[in-house]
Amino acid sequence: MTSLPKEPPTKRLGLVIDLDTCVGCHGCAVACKEWNTGGIAAPLSDVHPYGEDPSGAWLNRIHGYEVADGPSESRTVYFPKSCLHCENAPCVTVCPTGASYKRQDDGIVLVDEDKCIGCSLCAWACPYGARELDPVDGVMKKCTLCVDRIYNEHIPKESRVPACVASCPTSARHFGDLADPESDVSKLVAERSGFDLAPEQGCSPTNKYLPPRAKRMGAEVVNEELEEPAGGFLGWLDKALTQLGGD
């Protein structure tokens, strides 16, 4: 068994994912695969990439659902899912070799592949299904929060964010320190009632999701229907033209 940091990390780096603007374009998923297949957790292998049953290791996947809002209403929701870098990460404590660990400095959960025996216990322990065994190398892969980007001095400061955040065309992904109540991400969570995924699991995930905003369905409109002006259309037109003409 592996221990979590004795003192909770002072920083809680993570993502805030906005379900209001995610259009399910998969941009973040591919940007993630692209960065990380050559990054600190490289490679993210693919098996039969041109074959009958292509599959591969991905650290971030987008799921689309139709969900019922009420008895007759339904909506389509896109739900990106990756490691939530939990405070009480069961994937760490379950690891028999110490390969899974949570960083003391920033709370990022990583895998030390040198120690990983590919037993997949961590993947079973994760209630979110956020880990994937590399199908070729047999070691566990998971979201690194692009730890090799966010501190990387070869990257311009403003771009030192995870690849999924940098690429997202609808700004549905935000990165920051969720332990700092003054951070942009913490404020966003407060403003938009960000929530934990499956809090009953007791993992205390760092990543938060922002719920879809209330839809503007028209209740706020002054009149549900346009009224015909006095005098009918021609009466209105005559008056309007007269006003425009100033005569």
Binding site: G24, V30, A42, P43, P49, G51, E66, V147, D148, K215
Partner: protein, 953 residues
């Protein structure tokens, strides 16, 4: 326990090259990181005006496209029967000699016999010019089966177009209507824009039979019945007019609604504008009680009533005709609800919301400007209502007029190129008088000579049509004939069938680039394939004698070529996104871009643009050789980008012109121009001063700038063309007036559809009602991660989606006892396919749909012959007729919009029934597996791409 030491600041790459993405038509700026000679990472360029750093799934998957095993490796000559896939690798010299010999003979005997059509070509400024220099009238790109309805309706109405020449004012609009868009050319800008709307709390309404993607995050989804958007918009117009909620000031100043239309039935000028002083249109002045030059910009125009003209004839303001049409009871929300599937209450409420957004929340910017009539405006007024529309409107036989209806709605609300509305992107707007007319009549085509003018244009009079004296088509695709007078993008979808049939004439060589016409780009795919391989029984020759095809990949089309010219990937070429073509401008100002080679090809392939210039020189095309007969652009396309002049001072690139790079848009050659582009991230962008950013169709200072830049030919205002007299001219021809009249068989069709005021008609008025036997509409969408791309073969993207199913509503599922995963037969009056189904909520009850172009032919694209794309994936194309059903004794039209020739993909009606257990679980129809061309590598069974980067870091 200690944590492992990580190097968190390792160098990312050895080198970064900036260029322009080509994974779709969006053309984002990208930065390609190279490490150990391989792509480490592709990211969005944060400074680029198109994407500002973001990147979509396609763009990020560019690595796998560049390293695709399906890349062609060497020129190929067919050695087996056409379609057998039997090829022999040949040297470029032999390939170019062969092509030159075929083409030279065509040029010397009859240039019509070359049909040169390009697909996802982003070098149309070059390919069209090459075809013109060659002298064939038969050139176009794929716009005729993509979105010409949008482009043409826009250009004939507002001088710009939804297509690529406008964008909603994402920063200011408070109400956004999106019609028929699953994904679009401007893929990242739309996503960025929608995020802005959501952030600001603007209302977003999506009108689409299917609720996916953008529609999923809309505030309101209106699951309209396909093909009825125009009827819904007509009902909105009805409501707004009825309540007097239209911007009269805007209409009077900027549109032609007050112009007097001659009311003289049975005479040659009926329905035309009355021309008064100096041949200018006129208004009726309410105060003076007389006609007055509409271009005075003064007076008090009447909008209703009938008036007597000085010559004694009667006339009405165009607005009166509009009012009489749209206030009719047939456009009441209650009257249209059954057809549109939108409740009357919803239509009324949307109309009320539009009125509130437009008129209760007027935007006033402190930007003074002067209009074309010299009237100065202290402020720039805007109405925060914006709209965008695309394929779902375009791909119907009523798309042109439906798109005009949407523009009419925008004009009535005063929200064209105004803050908060639909904003134009320079070099647009352009007046119809600034746009070219098509060339290709008999006298334009001479042996061994260039075509007289450009192929594609915008007819405004019947005499602009490309027809012979009998009114028969001059082009192989019949574009600009009476069948499709405003076919501004050509009609690529008709080329193969027409050439096979020899209608209007046989051809010798079909030359195509990046166009999968033997598969997902064809209507009636199965028969199209048969036409490509059909032989003349008498001579034993193929009916289409020669086929030259250029592409980077082993697609379905490759097998049907006699000669394959292998192209490079997008990271191995020079390229140009030119203002002469479809630029990447924003509403703030013009922009263009280049691609630079990030890598040298590791195969014996050449960029198609270089090959074209080489072929041109070999053919001795005068624009491509020096006086001494040597190639004029020995450095290929890069050379051309710098040194070619279309007109004096006008070249492919607008930035850094002039000897020192000091000029923009126009100027002499700058030998270092390409270097300046590279230094600037491979793009040029020139945001205009605020005063030149709005009302550009009437903004004097902008029009002066545009004329100086060569965007327009005069500083005349571009009057919003609510009443399109150009259409009426064709109608009058159909009534027998004027020297150019349609053959008898076309008269009714022209009379019906060339209505100068936009109107809605059911698409099956054109295509013939298939009857109750086919009760369901069937259509396709492209997924965001594959839109306008070759993504189906991409190792990563195909893991996201490797096959497709037919989505049906729960109601349809219940009716036919279908469950998720069941196989069903889907039948149209044209064909039958077997597919898997999936019930869903978010779809119109009368509609079934699937993801387009996921289905592949077994053996192509270096995919395993048993790949899901070919076993479970399918095309709807097999159900879609290319020609409308034969009617005895009548002209047989293509399945297209009668005005523009736009392919009517979405007018398909089908029935569905559960399949028995008659066979194995594969989609039908089946096609024989195509063998991979020689040299194309077998795909690896696993990939550890990127593993090497880690080891070395």
């Amino acid at each position: 326990m200690s944590e492992p030491k990580l190097d968190l600041s390792a160098p990312i790459s050895d080198e970064v090259k900036e260029t322009t993405c080509y994974m779709c038509a969006c053309r984002c700026g990208i930065r390609v990181h190279i490490k150990d000679g391989l792509i480490r990472y592709i990211e969005g360029n944060t400074k680029h005006p198109v994407n500002e750093g973001v990147l979509c799934a396609k763009g990020a998957a560019g690595i796998m496209q560049h390293y695709s095993p399906a890349r062609l490796r060497k020129p190929l000559r067919r050695v087996g029967e056409r379609g057998s896939g039997e090829f022999k690798e040949i040297e470029w010299e032999e390939a170019l000699d062969t092509a030159t010999a075929w083409l030279a003979r065509v040029r010397a005997t009859d240039p019509h016999r070359l049909a040169f059509f390009t697909g996802r070509d982003q070098s149309q400024a070059l390919t069209s010019w090459w075809a013109k220099e060659f002298g064939t009238p038969n050139y176009a790109a794929h716009g005729g089966f993509c979105s010409v309805n949008m482009a043409a309706a826009g250009l004939y109405t507002i001088g710009s177009a939804f297509w690529e020449f406008t964008e909603p004012d994402w920063d200011r609009t408070d109400y956004f209507l999106l019609f028929g868009v699953a994904e679009d050319h401007a893929s990242n800008p739309i996503k960025k824009g929608i995020a802005k709307l959501k952030e600001r709390g603007a209302k977003f309404v999506s009108i689409n039979p299917v609720r996916t993607g953008y529609s999923a995050v809309a505030d309101e989804w209106i699951g309209i019945t396909p093909g009825t958007d125009g009827l819904f918009v007509s009902a909105l117009i009805h409501e707004l007019l009825r309540a007097g909620k239209v911007d009269l000031d805007f209409l009077l100043r900027y549109s032609n609604v007050a112009w007097l239309v001659i009311d003289d039935p049975g005479h040659e000028e009926d329905g035309l504008f009355y021309l008064g002083d100096m041949g200018r249109p006129a208004i009726w002045d309410r105060k003076e009680k007389s006609v007055r030059n509409a271009y005075d910009g003064d007076g008090q125009p009447a909008l209703t009533g009938e008036f007597e003209l000085p010559d004694g004839r009667k006339a009405r303001p165009a607005f009166d005709l509009l009012r009489m049409r749209f206030l009719r009871d047939e456009y009441r929300p209650e009257a249209v609800a059954d057809q549109t599937g939108v409740s009357a209450a919803t239509t009324k409420r949307i109309a009320a919301e539009l009125a509130e957004a437009a008129f209760e929340n007027q935007i006033e910017l402190d930007i003074p400007w002067t209009d074309a009539f010299g009237r100065s405006h202290k402020k720039t007024i805007g109405r925060p209502v914006a709209m965008h529309a695309m394929r779902g409107i375009s791909a119907h036989a009523n798309g042109f007029q439906t798109c005009r209806l949407i523009h009419l709605l925008q004009i009535l609300l005063g929200t064209i190129d105004a803050p908060g509305g639909l904003r134009f992107k320079p070099p647009y707007p352009k007046s119809l008088s600034s746009l070219p007319r098509p060339s290709g009549r008999a006298e334009d085509v001479l042996r061994n000579a260039a075509l007289a003018g450009p192929h594609l244009g915008f007819p405004t009079w019947p005499q602009h049509l490309l027809v012979d004296r009998e009114g028969q088509p001059r082009r192989i695709d019949k574009a600009f004939s009476w069948e499709a007078p405003f076919a501004a993008h050509g009609m690529m979808h008709t080329v193969i069938a027409n050439a096979w049939r020899g209608d209007p004439y046989p051809i010798d060589t079909l030359f195509m680039y990046m166009a999968n016409m033997a598969w997902n780009s064809a209507m009636n795919t199965k028969d199209t394939i048969a036409m490509l391989t059909d032989k003349d029984a008498r001579t034993g020759e193929y009916k289409i004698p020669h086929i030259i095809y250029s592409d980077a990949f082993a697609s379905e089309m490759t097998a049907y070529a006699d000669l394959v010219l292998p192209d490079t990937t997008y990271l191995e070429r020079w390229d140009c996104i030119s203002l002469l073509d479809r630029p990447i401008s924003t509403a703030e100002g013009p922009a263009d871009a280049i691609r630079q080679p990030v890598f040298e090809p590791d195969r014996d392939v050449r960029p198609f643009q270089d090959v074209l210039l080489d072929l041109g020189a070999r053919l001795g095309l005068s624009a491509m050789i020096t006086r001494e007969g040597r190639p004029k652009f020995p450095g290929g396309y890069k050379d051309y980008l710098t040194h070619h002049h279309r007109l004096p001072g006008v070249g492919m690139l607008a930035g850094w012109r002039g000897a020192e790079g000091e000029k923009t848009v126009q100027g002499e050659t700058n030998a270092d121009q390409i270097d300046r582009y590279i230094e600037n991230g491979c793009y040029w962008y020139d945001p205009l001063p605020e005063g030149l950013q709005y009302y550009r169709f009437f903004n004097r200072d902008y029009l002066v700038y545009a004329a100086k830049s060569g965007f327009v030919t005069s500083t005349d205002p571009i009057v919003l063309n609510v009443y399109a007299e150009e259409l009426q001219r064709f109608r009058l021809a159909a009534r027998g007036y004027g020297p150019f009249v349609p053959p008898k068989e076309h008269k009714d069709r022209i009379e019906t559809y060339f209505d100068p005021l936009p109107f809605w008609y059911p698409p099956d008025l054109v295509s013939g009602d298939p009857g109750d036997e086919y009760p369901l509409h069937a259509l396709t969408q492209r997924p965001a991660h594959m839109y306008h791309s070759w993504g189906g073969q991409n190792a990563w993207l195909r893991q996201i989606q490797g096959d497709n199913v037919l989505f049906i509503s729960h109601k349809v599922a219940e009716q036919h006892e279908l469950q998720d995963g069941d196989w069903a037969w889907v039948t149209s009056r044209h064909g039958k396919i077997k597919v898997r189904v999936k019930p869903m909520e978010g779809v119109n009850d009368h509609t079934v749909w699937t993801w387009n172009a996921i289905g592949k032919r077994s053996g192509t694209w270096s995919l395993d012959p048993q790949a899901p794309e070919s076993q479970k994936g399918f095309l709807l194309n097999h159900l879609i007729e290319d020609l409308l059903p034969e009617q005895p004794g009548q002209y047989r039209y293509s399945n297209s919009d009668p005005i523009t020739g736009q392919a009517a993909w979405f007018d398909l009606k089908v029935r569905i029934e559960k399949a028995g257990d008659e066979g194995i679980d594969v989609a039908e129809p089946r096609f024989e597996t195509v063998p991979a061309p020689p040299g194309v590598e077998a795909a690896a069974s696993k990939s550890r791409y990127g593993a090497g980067f880690r080891r070395k870091s």
